[in-house]
């Protein structure tokens, strides 16, 4: 009896320790893993140039869509911009830029200087719409398929590795 107790307790503690050991490598910050496979909301987004809005429902016409949240005041957005230009060259991928809490003129200058990779430019003046897309902080990039399912969600500036990852997914 004593022996069984001893063994049981030892096994319990070993289990706890293995988990704690593994947890040392856990990512401590927020990650988007739980959101993969969920559908984005069907909401209206305002277009940048005109007073028109489009509904995200319309994105079902595209095979793949990338939504990119950016602003001219955000430094990392400037860094990731060349990678967005690379993305824009991929076929059957539509690129939608959503200008986040920005000054319109600054945003225009930003695109003039760095190039405009977006097939469609929208805006989120007060930032509230970003919550519908689960945006954490800009820049943020979301890849969705024709059923509006989230395939990838990148927080922070897009790097070249991630561009290649998107390219691979789209080519399949």
């Amino acid at each position: 009896m004593k022996k069984i107790k001893y063994i049981l307790i030892s096994i319990l503690f070993s289990f706890l320790f293995i988990i704690l050991y593994l947890s040392l490598d856990n990512e401590k910050i927020y990650n988007t893993q739980d959101l993969i496979g969920k559908k984005i909301s069907e909401v209206e987004i305002n277009l940048f140039q005109s007073n028109r809005t489009i509904n995200t429902k319309e994105l079902t016409n595209n095979e793949f869509t990338v939504l990119n949240f950016w602003a001219s005041w955000c430094g990392p957005c400037r860094d990731e911009h060349p990678n967005l230009v690379r993305l824009s060259k991929i076929k059957n991928l539509k690129l939608i830029g959503i200008n986040f809490k920005d000054n319109k003129d600054n945003a225009k200058t930003f695109l003039k200087e760095n190039g405009n990779p977006f097939d469609l430019l929208a805006e989120d003046k007060d930032g509230k719409n970003s919550i519908n897309f689960g945006v954490y902080g800009i820049p943020e990039t979301i890849l969705i398929d024709s059923e509006l399912r989230i395939l990838k969600k990148y927080i922070g500036p897009l790097n070249i590795k991630e561009v290649n990852e998107i390219r691979k997914i789209v080519k399949k």
Partner: protein, 121 residues
């Protein structure tokens, strides 16, 4: 079964969830984690993220959405990490029921400790 248990639990404890005279918006904001902060609630933070969440929650309340609908909306967009009150579902059964189980086990253990006839008088 699951619904019965959770509604029973809610019925018994609901009082401790919604006490006081705090208004609903504030109550909701207190139960949300500010994702970009270090262990702060949305209510306590003034980061960009928290400010936007605050105004979105206010809008939803104005639209007449219930507390539960707002939680569902946000956990759909950000995952359960944003909810400080973990919802009762498959991945949190252990979290919610293990404490009660342990309490009952303790009671059983004590029962035998106190009730058993004496070996030596």
């Amino acid at each position: 079964m699951k619904n019965i248990i959770s509604s029973l639990l809610l019925f018994f404890f609901i009082t401790s969830v919604s006490y006081g005279n705090e208004d609903v918006t504030d109550q909701i904001l207190k139960n949300l984690r500010c994702l970009v902060c270090q262990g702060q609630t949305v209510s306590d933070s003034n980061s960009e993220f928290a400010l936007i969440i605050k105004s979105v929650v206010k809008d939803k309340i104005k639209e007449g959405k219930s507390e539960k609908e707002i939680y569902n909306f946000l956990s759909d967009k950000y995952g359960d990490w944003i909810l400080l009150n973990p919802p009762l579902k498959k991945n949190s059964y252990v979290l919610w029921f293990l404490p009660y189980l342990l309490f009952i086990l303790g009671a059983i253990f004590l029962f035998f400790l106190l009730k058993k006839p004496k070996i030596r008088p």
